[in-house]
Amino acid sequence: MTEPIFQLKNCTVTVNQGTPEQINILDDVNLDIFAGDFITVLGSNGAGKSTLFNVIGGDLPLSSGKILLHGKDITHMSVARRTKFLSRVFQDPKMGTAPRMTVAENLLLSLKRGESRGLAPRHLKQNMGKFKQITSTMENGLEDRLNTATGKLSGGQRQALSFLMATIKRPEILLLDEHTAALDPQTSQQLMTATNNKIKQEKLTCLMITHHLDDALEYGNRLIVMDSGKITSDFSNEEKQKLTKKQMLNFFTDIDG
């Protein structure tokens, strides 16, 4: 197959170094991500899923190991510079949007993700048509609330907006950090379907943390399982399709059935 676009090589993050509580929250992790991969990430609490995302995003420095993007070492690249190729949706709907700015203003901000921002006028009106079209794909009424302050939206609409903001400018890697977990089951399902459609249509490369075994099995073309800071299993699409929920349950103790 082709070269991976993103690689983690022997990545370790150690906390409380030199104390009796010393522990590797990420332990010698190796991961090759290929273009078009839609990887679901499963693991119990404290398995290292969020640590993995924070390492990829640059929020957490490595204790040892290397991160490569297209073969180039980006281990020490800042969070701000990584946003050029990386976008992220958080679990908390409040984290991904600016509450006092309108839906359209939020989308406009995300159009320039990772770019320098100068003193040119923002041209909000010229983009309204595009925003209307893109928000209507979420099918939750967001397109009628473009001029509403984001803080007044429902959690589902806010999270749908966060997802759009992460994908409006195509990222090379999209990180979804349990982005439907804070929503009620129906809204969560709706957003998950919209997410899946968008990723398939635009052939996005994506990692998605989930606590739902069903979602992990249903979506994506690759599945990794984490435990104690290590990647313990890495299933390809064919292997993943043969997996049953019962087999999966053996891996964990505290996952929602």
């Binding site: 701000a80 050029k84 409040k94 991904g96 600016a98 006092r100 203003e105 406009l108 921002r117 006028p121």
Partner: protein, 298 residues
């Protein structure tokens, strides 16, 4: 009559100070104490330069730049030095007291018979006190228009986003440190500009003239918000100046009750407290209203 005109003039000039504080207090969402040092710093710089023969316009512009540098120091202490912003502001404010003394070489300096921005043919031909109304109006209009333009640019939007949700701003590649430093710098530049204008209107600068500035500026912001309620960002900028004029009227009224100028800081603080409590009381009142009436029929 002239006392009202004078109040309007003061209100407009102080509107610049209110707008400066609005950038940090409302947009970036943190309290910046630096202003109590940069206001007299603008005044001291302006008066000292005019005293040494510089033109009032040059002196006013330099005063603004000096304020921007002070704000920059607070910003760097806060973002890079990781000192809490409240303390960073207090540190710079404290240091500014000594710097202001150095700038003037004494505790106060008078502009007796010296040129100022108010001393030109046009402004001197106006009826008494109208000179500061015109000067204040011109400056506050320019500042407001420039900021309205700025806030609608990509950089301005990134600035607003930084105050609104720093986590999101960073995830979009916005350097929140740079935005905060920039905000503190511009804010304190405007406050020093206000200090320079006030010094020229009053005809002197004093190292102690910064005491209470933050309360007066906050009062302008809060009064504007309480009076006008829900507004767009552009309207809120204008509301600050109107709030600043209204504040002068209220002070004027209170002074008529027999208080003197030395009571001003006490009165300002009480006034601000009252205005800041209004939204809370209103909320409580509405809750009581609902409780007594019960849930509305469907």
């Amino acid at each position: 009559m002239s006392i009202i005109v004078s109040a309007i003039g003061q209100g407009l000039t102080w509107g610049v100070v209110g707008i400066g504080l609005f950038l940090t207090f409302r947009i970036l969402d943190f309290p910046d104490m630096t202003v109590e040092g940069t206001f007299p710093m603008g005044a001291a710089t302006c008066v000292a330069m005019i005293y040494r023969g510089f033109s009032p316009l040059v002196a006013t512009i330099i005063a603004m730049l000096v304020g921007m540098i002070a704000g920059l120091v607070t910003g760097v202490l806060y973002t890079k030095g990781k000192i809490p912003v409240l303390l960073a502001g207090i540190l710079v404010m404290t240091a500014a007291y000594s710097v202001n003394f150095r700038i003037m070489n004494r505790a106060n300096l008078t502009l007796f018979n010296m040129p100022t921005l108010l001393k030109n043919h046009f402004l001197e031909s106006l009826p008494p006190y109208f000179d500061s109304v015109v000067l204040g109006l011109v400056v506050v209009t320019i500042v407001t228009l420039l900021l309205i333009y700025f806030l609608q640019t990509h950089l301005g939007q990134a600035f607003i986003a930084t105050g609104d949700n720093p986590t999101m701003a960073r995830s979009l590649g916005i350097s929140t440190d740079t935005m905060q430093i920039m905000g503190l710098s511009v804010s304190n530049g405007l406050i020093a500009l206000g200090g320079g204008l006030v010094a020229q209107e009053n005809g002197f600068a004093d190292v102690n003239m910064g005491i209470g500035v933050i309360v007066v500026a906050l009062a302008s912001i809060i009064i504007g918000e309480v009076v006008f309620g829900d507004l767009t960002m552009n309207e809120r900028l204008v509301a600050v100046t109107i709030g600043s004029v209204l504040y002068r009227f209220v002070i004027l009224l209170v002074l008529q009750l027999g208080f003197n100028a030395n009571d001003l800081n006490l009165l300002s603080a009480i006034l601000l407290s009252i205005f800041m409590m209004i939204p809370a009381f209103e909320k409580r009142f509405r809750i009581r209203h609902t409780l007594s009436k019960g849930v509305d029929k469907p």
